[in-house]
């Protein structure tokens, strides 16, 4: 299909002109909308009229289809209900009540670090993940990856059995082969034995590795994490002479400076950091004043979107910026003047930091070089922040010894020193830097053993591929960002032949204990001697008092000597590599929920693209979807372009994780392989990249135009000063303040009045709500082609808005579930009463009545209704059925659906309360989106009860509803967003 150029190339002048003539704030979602060209409107009405495209048909053909449709219409309804069976247990599991869910505390491990979770188990099937309120990294919330873990468990593409050179084998075959090589290792002390793992914090695994390296002193252990945090460890080595873990206390920080640091998406502690950060941003709380966040970054991130002041700078420029800042704060650094124009920024920032000594915080990102991290530590020392807003402890991760990197391993493999390589849950054949030629070197290894969840790129090359048990199938343990240990307990016996890393290592060790539970139990025998202590640790999900102690550290005298800034002259263009926001370094590529989740900020699904600044795009006459060729050294890659407002002008960003060749049915062939350009010496930034326009186009599936609300006043944002001046600023622009009279009758009040409040000041746009809702409500994945037609099914979408100039806009996020209007326009137009009001204020959708006219969707001003245009729900794959929530109807083709405020959870609480003839207590019903929210932005409850949390939130002067002039009286309302800009800086 020839693609349509959306609106012609981006014209920065037109954009500026439009903003200059605007009165009041202008919020926009895409550059095409900003310049508001004729072409955009034409393109929009052509591409997203929320109608399927019509196809050419003559009169005769039309009549034929009509006749056939009528004749066949009845047939689809035919068929008697199946005679179904009940299969009781032979022996009932202890403590289970049939039909009631049970929750087990466990641990999900993300890039080595523990995320405490509660796993919902329904009749033995893990179906949903919730955060564990007692776990320090969770506090009851989770990130998107924890939510998606349950789909990963049930993924039919997972590796299901042992493979020997690609042929089916068994664990016994493997044990026999292992016995042979073990005999050899016993003789030569493990010479030629190498292990490769990802980041490890598990005490059990650490102990096993230590035992292995003791038993086989000639063996080596290497760590490879494609998007790891090695720079931070090296930074503390520079600053303090030893590797240390850094812990941020954002709840104590008043002024925060993030230097290319996306701490809100931190794999280890992002969820906790988000809570701590937002905890100091409420203007209503009397105790704390609102913090201020400065972000200097090259490519927009969630943290950048949360910033009060954001400065886009190329990666190399950030180094200069930091040095200039250090000089202004009195550090002895070597600075070249005249490189940066941002003196006003630097002066204001330095003054703000000086004024908040001891309660400020400098955070340096994982993509910055080690000396920048050391400089960051020095700055925190100079500002007196250490011990208040930042703490240090022994490393949480187990660090390999010398020569423990992937590069060292490749060198050894090239030299023929590696006889047996055991790869534990890593995929270096895909995600190793391209210049290492790792896959080629792997072919020289006589015995490659691969333990993985999927038979991926590495598994396909292995002599032995071993299926890894999923985290929900195996015993393990891990440390959280602060060192707290939690146990991972299996929720289900392995679906396939999977075994855990502990079990495989025990086999390699010849351990007399071979079974996962016994291995983990033995590790904790001393701390948890009796079964009662062990059970308590399992039930709470954390082993008490295992957080690593805070260490007092001293800055080395030569901490800053290593400072070596890049040459002052600018790189022509730089290419940044970043882990993908939804599929990480590629390990989540086969997860449909994560693939279809519109990526925060870009709103792209199913693909990656190279993000470029609008200015650069204008220079090269590029529009979204143009295929360009990137050249780094001798290597090239063709990849489509996506214009990213707020991107540093000379930075290009490419997300890792796509272009998988052996991910599975979902992930194979999606997107473009960024690793093809990534070299070991330039892991995060390739300093010199050339781009060439190919003239070809590539269809991307972005959702930023879907459900367009035609520029209405949906988002209310003000500054702290605005709020102090007029707390009711958010509703000042309402056309009809208060509640205007209505022609429609009022519903009599019911027992409860359910309502929701979404605090835009707390929302960071992480989209955990979208994916939690998907997991809870059996929402199907529709695929890239359907997303392009605007048919994604997410019940709660997170709109992303820009405000201001395209070079550096403010970025806002707004979650939009069903508004549950009291006077709902959808209800009036349904010809079959499939969407009706209930006495508690819910606008309910009755699937079994719906005939699919879609009138309701057309009449919904908020565009929150979703229609099953096709049979989206997979009804053939058995394991996917096992994941679904039995409390929610699985919708079929031709049925409208939408957010229900998690009515299944309301009804469950209702029934329990009714049985006891009591009332549902406030906080007893948590919707899925509310429960998962890291910042507690979503509140839900009975708005008729003035003491309820939601009623109190709605009493805030910042409260407003969308499209109040329509008088639909939504039950979902918003709290306006506030920013806290520095008066000394221009507020752009």
């Amino acid at each position: 299909m020839p693609s349509v150029n959306p609106a012609g190339a981006f014209d920065p002048e037109a954009a500026r002109a439009r903003l200059a003539e605007a009165r009041g704030p202008i919020f926009w979602r895409s550059l095409e909308e900003l310049i508001d060209s004729e072409g955009f409107h034409r393109w929009l009405s052509e591409h997203h009229p929320r109608l399927a495209e019509t196809f050419d048909i003559d009169r005769r053909g039309f009549l034929k289809f009509l006749g056939a449709s009528v004749a066949l219409a009845g047939l689809s309804g035919c068929g008697r209900p199946p005679q179904r069976q009940i299969v009781p247990y032979v022996h009932a599991p202890v403590g289970q009540v049939d039909g009631l869910p049970r929750f087990f505390a466990s641990t999900l491990i993300r890039e080595g670090y523990a995320q405490g979770v509660l796993v919902e188990s329904r009749m033995g099937r893990p179906t949903k993940i919730e955060g564990n309120p007692q776990h320090p990294a969770s506090l009851g919330a989770t990130d998107i990856f924890a939510q998606a873990a349950v789909l990963q468990l049930w993924d039919p593409d997972r590796s299901q059995g042992v493979l020997y050179r690609g042929d089916a084998a068994s664990w016994d075959d493997f044990a026999a082969a292992l016995a042979e090589s073990n005999a050899r290792f016993d003789r030569d002390g493990g010479a030629g034995l190498r292990l490769l793992t990802g980041a490890i914090t598990s005490p059990t695994l650490s102990a096993q590795l230590d035992a292995l390296l003791r038993k086989y002193p000639q063996a080596h252990w290497h760590v490879h994490q494609a998007a790891g945090n090695d720079n931070a460890a090296s930074g503390t080595k520079l600053a303090f002479g030893m590797p240390l873990s850094t812990r941020l206390n954002l709840n104590r920080a008043q002024v925060i400076v993030a230097l290319d640091a996306d701490f809100l998406s931190d794999p280890a502690a992002g969820v906790r950091y988000a809570r701590d950060f937002v905890g100091r941003r409420s203007p209503e709380s009397a105790s704390a004043t609102m913090n201020r966040l400065y972000v200097v970054e090259s490519t927009p991130s969630l943290t950048g979107a949360a910033a009060d002041h954001r400065l886009p700078l190329e990666s190399g420029q950030i180094e200069h910026f930091t040095l200039q800042l250090a000089k202004r704060l009195g550090l002895a650094v070597d600075v070249r003047d005249g490189v940066l124009q941002q003196t006003q920024w630097l002066d204001a920032l330095a003054a703000d930091l000086q004024g908040n000594r001891g309660v400020s915080l400098i955070v340096v990102g994982a993509t910055q070089p080690p000396w920048m991290h050391a400089l960051g530590h020095a700055l925190n020392f100079a500002l007196g922040n250490v011990g208040v807003t930042i703490d240090y402890s022994e490393p949480v991760e187990k660090l390999p010894g010398d020569n423990g990197t992937l590069t060292d391993l490749t060198t050894a493999m090239g030299a023929g020193l590696v006889d047996t390589l055991l790869v534990l849950d890593a995929n270096p054949a895909y995600d190793a830097p391209v210049d290492l030629q790792f896959a080629a070197a792997l072919k020289q290894v006589p015995h490659l053993l691969h333990l993985g969840l999927y038979c991926d790129e590495t598994g396909a090359m292995a002599e032995w591929h071993l299926p890894l048990a999923h985290q929900l199938e195996a015993w393990s343990d891990a440390r959280a960002y602060d060192g707290s240990v939690s146990i991972s307990q299996p929720l289900i016996a392995p679906l396939y032949e999977g075994r855990s890393t502990h079990e495989v290592l025990a086999a390699l060790l010849g351990d007399e204990v071979s079974e996962g539970h016994a291995l983990v139990r033995r590790q904790w025998q001393q701390q948890l001697p009796d079964d009662a202590a062990w059970d308590t640790a399992l039930q709470t999900g954390v082993i008490a008092d295992t957080a690593l102690a805070v260490r007092t550290v001293a800055l080395r005298a030569d901490a800053l000597v290593h400072t070596a800034p890049n040459a002052a002259e600018m790189n022509p263009l730089e290419l940044l590599f970043r882990p993908d926001p939804t599929i990480g370094d590629g390990r989540w590529a086969n997860n449909g929920w994560l693939q279809e989740l519109p990526k925060p900020l870009t709103q792209l699904t199913w693909d990656n693209a190279v993000l470029i600044s609008p200015l650069l795009a204008a220079q090269h006459q590029l529009v979204n979807g143009d295929l360009i060729e990137l050249r780094v050294g001798q290597r090239t890659l063709q990849v489509p372009v996506w214009l990213m407002p707020g991107q540093a002008p000379r930075s290009l960003t490419l997300h890792l994780g796509y272009g998988r060749r052996r991910a599975g049915h979902v992930g194979d062939g999606q997107g473009f392989d960024a690793y093809a350009l990534r070299s070991a010496s330039a892991l995060w930034t390739a300093p010199d990249v050339q781009l060439r326009k190919t003239g070809q186009r590539y269809e991307l599936a972005g959702t930023q135009q879907h459900f367009n609300m035609e520029g209405r006043d949906l988002l209310r944002v003000g500054t702290l000063a605005d709020y102090r001046h007029d707390p009711h600023f958010a509703t000042a622009s309402d056309r009809y303040p208060g509640t205007p009279p209505s022609l429609y009758p009022e519903y009599p009040p019911g027992e409860y009045a359910w309502g929701m409040s979404i605090d835009l000041n707390a929302c960071i746009g992480c989209k955990a709500c979208t994916i939690a809702c998907q997991a809870e409500n059996n929402i199907p994945v529709v695929g890239k082609d359907q997303v392009r037609r605007g048919r994604e099914m997410h019940w709660i979408r997170v709109d992303r808005y820009y405000e201001g100039q395209a070079e550096n806009p403010r970025i806002h996020a707004q979650p939009v579930p069903c508004m549950m209007c009291e006077h709902a326009p959808c209800e009036l137009v349904c010809p079959v009463d499939a969407t009706v009001h209930d006495s508690e204020g819910l606008n309910v959708q009755v699937y079994n009545r719906c005939v699919g006219t879609r009138f309701c969707s057309n009449n919904c001003p908020y565009k929150v209704r979703r229609f099953n245009f096709l049979q989206y729900v997979d009804d053939s794959i058995e394991t996917l059925k096992a994941q679904r929530n039995p409390e929610v109807t699985v919708r079929r083709r031709g049925v409208m659906e939408k957010c229900t405020y998690c009515i299944q959870r309301i009804e469950t609480a209702h029934i329990e309360a009714d049985k006891a003839s009591s009332r549902i207590q406030d906080g007893e019903v948590l919707t899925a989106c509310q429960a998962v929210c890291p910042t507690q932005a979503i509140r839900f409850g009975d708005i008729a009860d003035a003491r309820s949390e939601v009623a109190q939130a709605k009493a805030s002067p910042r409260n407003y509803v969308m499209l109040s002039e329509l008088n639909t009286r939504p039950r979902t309302s918003y709290l306006a967003r506030l920013r806290n800009p520095n008066p000394a800086l221009p507020d752009i």
Binding site: C78, G79, R80, P81, P82, Q83, R84, Q85, I86, V87, P88, Y89, V90, H91, A92, V97, D98, G99, L100, P748, G750, E751, V836, D838, S839, E840, L842, V844, V846, Y847, N848, E887, V888, T889, V890, T900, I903, Q904, E907, I911, D914, K915, S917
Partner: protein
Amino acid sequence: MTQLFRKDFGFLFRLGVLGVFATAMVAVFLWRAVMAYPAGVNEPLEQPVPFSHKHHVTDEGIDCRYCHSSVETSAFAGMPPLSTCMTCHSQLFTDQPALAPLISAFQSDVSLRWQRVHDLPDFVYFNHSIHIAKGVGCASCHGQVDQMPLTWRVAPLTMQWCLDCHRSPEQYLRPRDQVFNLRWQAKDQRALGAQLLLTYHIDKRRLTECSVCHR
């Protein structure tokens, strides 16, 4: 001017209308026959073991909840695990051929497959525990199970049938302590029902709302 219609047009027209009507009737009957439950009302289903509620309840006096143990706490009343059967049948009638499938299932750890007698569409969320708590007796829906040598359905389980009670539950309510008594009869159901509506805090307005049963 020629006649627009033939003379016998009126007759043919009536015949046509009748034909359409008859076809529609046939279609409706056919549809109902096809869409009916696999086993009709009052038709016993063949089970892997000819389990008799009559024997267990009437002769032996076993309470409903001995086997259907989650009926007071869960949506699902619970089907007894085979180990429950074996509490008695490891000793009693172990050599009866009718019990052979049970014994072998228990020994081989592969469970029996009972044929469902009461089944609802997947978009209906019936909850046993709330009905028990509000004084709806087992017999109100399941009939005189204590008289059934094989189990059958006594109610159509249609939405109309559900709504009959949801619209006016006072016709069927009984004191909580009589819920499991299959032979209980009210002396004056109207007076008792009205009184129980108040005692058990039953909000009749909400009972006919879609969201109560469909989600």
